[in-house]
Structures are given as C-alpha cells and as structure tokens.
Amino acid sequence: MINLKRTLLVLAVVILGANPICVLANEEAHAGEPSDKSKEIGEYIVHHLQDDHFFSLYKAGEETVGFPLPVILIDNGLKVFSSGEFKHGKAVVEKDGQFYKYYHGKIYKTDAAGTISYDDKHHPTNAKPLDFSITKNVFGLFLAAFLMFVGFLSLAKTYKKGPSNLPKGFGRVLEPLVLYVRDEMAIPNIGHRYKEFMPYLLSVFFLIFTLNILGLTPIGFNVTGNISITVCLALFTFVVTTIKANKDYWKHIFWMPGVPVPFKIILAPIEVLGMFTKPFSLMLRLFANITAGHSVIMGLIAIVYLFQTQLTVGGSVGISMLLTLVLFFLELLVAFLQAFIFTMLSSLFIGMAVEEHAHH
C-alpha cells in the first residue's frame, strides 16, 4: 500500500507539473472574444469531452493548433484521407463522388454544397458512413497500449533472468500494481482459478488506469469518459463472465436453490436482469466518473475567464489554480479508484460465475 501511495505521488508530481500548461493553453484559446464567454466555455468543455477527428493541442485565436489524424471510412469501399481536409468542418470533402462533411464531431454524407438537414430537435438527419477513423481517442488508446507494451514487456524481461531478479526503474512501480491486482482483486474474489483471468484483469486494470492518467495530462484525452470505450470494456466483462460461467451460476440465475418455488419464479427474471445491469453499471460508472471529473476540472479552469472582472486577473487565476489543484488530487485518486473498481467488480462478477458452491 505504501508503494502504491508513493507511485501515485510520483505520478501526481509529474502530471501536476504539466498542469499550468493546460491552463495556459486554454487561456490562449479564449483570449480573443470577451463576449458570451460562458457559452463558449460550455461548448469548449463539451467539445473536449467528445471524440475528435483532429488532434487539437490548443487554439490560438481562430487557429486550432494540432495535427490531423487519418480518417478511415467504409462507404462503398475503403476511403482513407487526412482529417485536415475537413478544415474543422468548414470544407466538404469529396471522395469517389461522395461528399462528406464534418459536423460536431461526426462525419455525415452530404451533397456537394455540404447541406445538413435537421430534425425538429436540431439533430442532423444526414446518413453517416461507417467511420473507423483514427480519432483522438483511438490515438490515445494506441498511446496507452504502446506505453503498456513498453512497460510490461520490459518488466517481463527482468524476470527472464530468474524470478528472484528484482525489477529496476519503472518496473518497481509496476510490480506492486500487478501484485495489487492479483492479491486484492483476483485471488480474494475468484479463488484458485484466478490465473486464467489474470491476463484480462491486468489488461483492463492497466488500460483503464493508463487512459485515466493520460486523460489528466494536458494532452486532453477523454478516452475512458467515452461511452463507446466503456461499453466495450463492460461488454468484455459480460462476455468473459457468461462464457466462463459454470452450471451453478446458471442454476442460481434461473432456478435459485434453497427458496420456495414461487420465489424461484419471481427471482429468475430479477437475476436475469441482474446479469445485464451489472456490466451496465460498470459501463456507466466509469463513463460518468471520468466525464464528471473532466467537466469539473475544466469548469474550474474556466474561472480564470469568467471571474476576471470580479476577482481581477491574479485573483481568478489564483483561485482557479487552487481549486483545480485540489480537484486534481481527487481526480488522481478517482483515476486509480475507477480502474480499481472496474477490475475489482469484474473479478467479483467472474468470481460469482466460476464459484463452486458448497450447496446450501
């Protein structure tokens, strides 16, 4: 536990060291217009929380600084081009006689003029091509996976020289985390069969943890706060649980032993519903926590722009920094806690599915 705390502390120092850059980036982004700031900030936050085809680092006036990412569309064949061609939604891109327009984070099929038609709730009704683009979040995923590969392949290498060869450098941080996953989550919840689920649990734990931490860096990922990601993760847990479930598990769902028959009939649908609500709550919890964290941090940073007249520039920056700092620590805790909870509950569900009941 002490090791873990120290690890978190080091990470906190690294990330917080970069935090002012984040503020600066935003400051520059909103230096231009004084009018209607709060609306703009709201839009900015929403925009940050969503996935993007363009990797924007910061905005300088009207100019967005960053780099474009490849767009991959499947629409009558594979179409690959740079997202820079959209010019942030201002341009209509034509590929093989088909026009595409970028509108609020999504690519729509349009006509040559790029007209978007809306329904009565102001949602676009244009058809969407199948979009497999390397978006900002996909880029973040790659980055996280890459970091994991680098970290854990080197950690695995240290053990090649024999199990008593202790890891050096960053491996010293990773090993206690691996042990933590094993001793706190896998073994207590799953029992002696824990080994077959270790790859899944470790992968999920470190992927979520890395992504959460990356989300706190000023690069501005919000990967685990995206519903597609959490759906995928929760679905994986659901699939693993369902595939690995033994007879006892199904029996407990459809014909609960040890209760009278009428209750069995009542309990069956509840338990079936429970099968789905468990991964559903996994999905929502991770998504909501990270999204909420990002929103609040960005909101607190926005104090800098919103209260400049009331608090003066220095005061608003100071208060914003102070509040953000406090919340940042909380978010670091949340970043770890959510990875922990997800893995913990996954192993709990898996453990319930593979548990051999001593019959009541």
């Binding site: 199948l130 390397i134 854990f152 090993e175 270790m198 992927l207 993760l233």
Partner: protein
C-alpha cells in the same frame, strides 16, 4: 440517455475491441504470463526458503535436544557404573573380610584342637609317667620296706622330695 446513444461511435468501439484483444493476448503471452508466473515462483521460492529455514531450525533444536538427552543418558550411565563398581568393591571387601575372619576362626579352632590334643597327650603321658613313677616308688618302697621300717620312711620322704612336681 439519448445524448449518450448519440455519442456512441462504432469506430471507437471497434478500435477499442481490437486494442483490448491485442493487449490481452499479446501482453498475456509475453508479459502477464511470465510476470505472474515469475511472481508466483518467487513467492514459492521465498516460502520454500522460509520453510527450509524453519525445518533447519527444528532440526537444530531436535539435534541439540538429542545431544542433551545423550549427555544426560551418558551421565546417568556413568553414575550407574560408578555405583555398581562401588557396590562391587564393597561386596569384594566384605567378602574378603568375612572369609578372612572365617579362615582365622578356623585356624584358631584348629590350633585350639591341637592344643587340646597336645594337652590330652601330655596329660596322658604325665599320667603314664606318674603311674610309672608311682609304681616305681611303690616298688622301691615296697623293696625297702622289706628292709627297714625307718629307712622305708626315709625313702618315702626322699622319694617324695624327688617327685616334687614343678
């Protein structure tokens, strides 16, 4: 809820699926498995070492207690032997003493018997001599008596003087 569904992107889901599967399988094969196995092996090694140390400690304790036991036994044995030897010695001495006593008594008895015998023999001889002497005297007396009465008396007196027994 609607906004969430709107946010859902198949592309992102697809990539996440691919990456998760890759991470699980490739890292599973090249990282998780070796790491978990190595950690387990290390723990086993440590446990084994601890067990061995414990066993060695027990062995040591056992050995030292055994040694002590042996020492105690040896000491007891030694005491036993000493005791036995002492008893034996006492026995021998006593026996020798009684034997010697018996022997002495026997010798004394023998000597006594011998003395008795000698005494008896001496007495017998003395009796013989006395009787012979008496006879002799009597003979002489009788002979002289035959000669002279005074002389006879004188003779008897002389004889008696002669016969003065020491």
């Amino acid at each position: 809820m609607e906004a969430l569904l709107n946010q859902f992107s198949y592309g992102l889901f697809f990539w996440q699926l691919i990456i998760l599967v890759i991470v699980i399988f490739i890292l599973g094969k090249f990282a998780w498995k070796p790491i978990v196995n190595a950690l387990e092996e290390r723990e086993q090694n440590i446990e084994e070492a601890l067990n061995k140390a414990e066993l060695a400690r027990q062995e040591m304790a056992r050995l030292s207690s055994q040694n002590e036991e042996l020492m105690k036994q040896a000491r007891e044995e030694r005491d036993q032997i000493l005791k036995e030897a002492k008893a034996l010695k006492d026995g021998i001495v006593n026996e020798a003493k009684t034997q010697a006593q018996a022997e002495g008594a026997k010798l004394i008895e023998k000597a006594r018997i011998e003395i008795e015998n000698q005494k008896k023999a001496a007495l017998a001889e003395l009796k013989g001599q006395v009787s012979a002497l008496s006879l002799d005297i009597a003979e002489r007396v009788l002979r002289t008596q035959l000669d002279d009465k005074a002389k006879q008396q004188e003779l008897v007196n002389n004889l008696l003087k002669d016969v003065e027994l020491n």
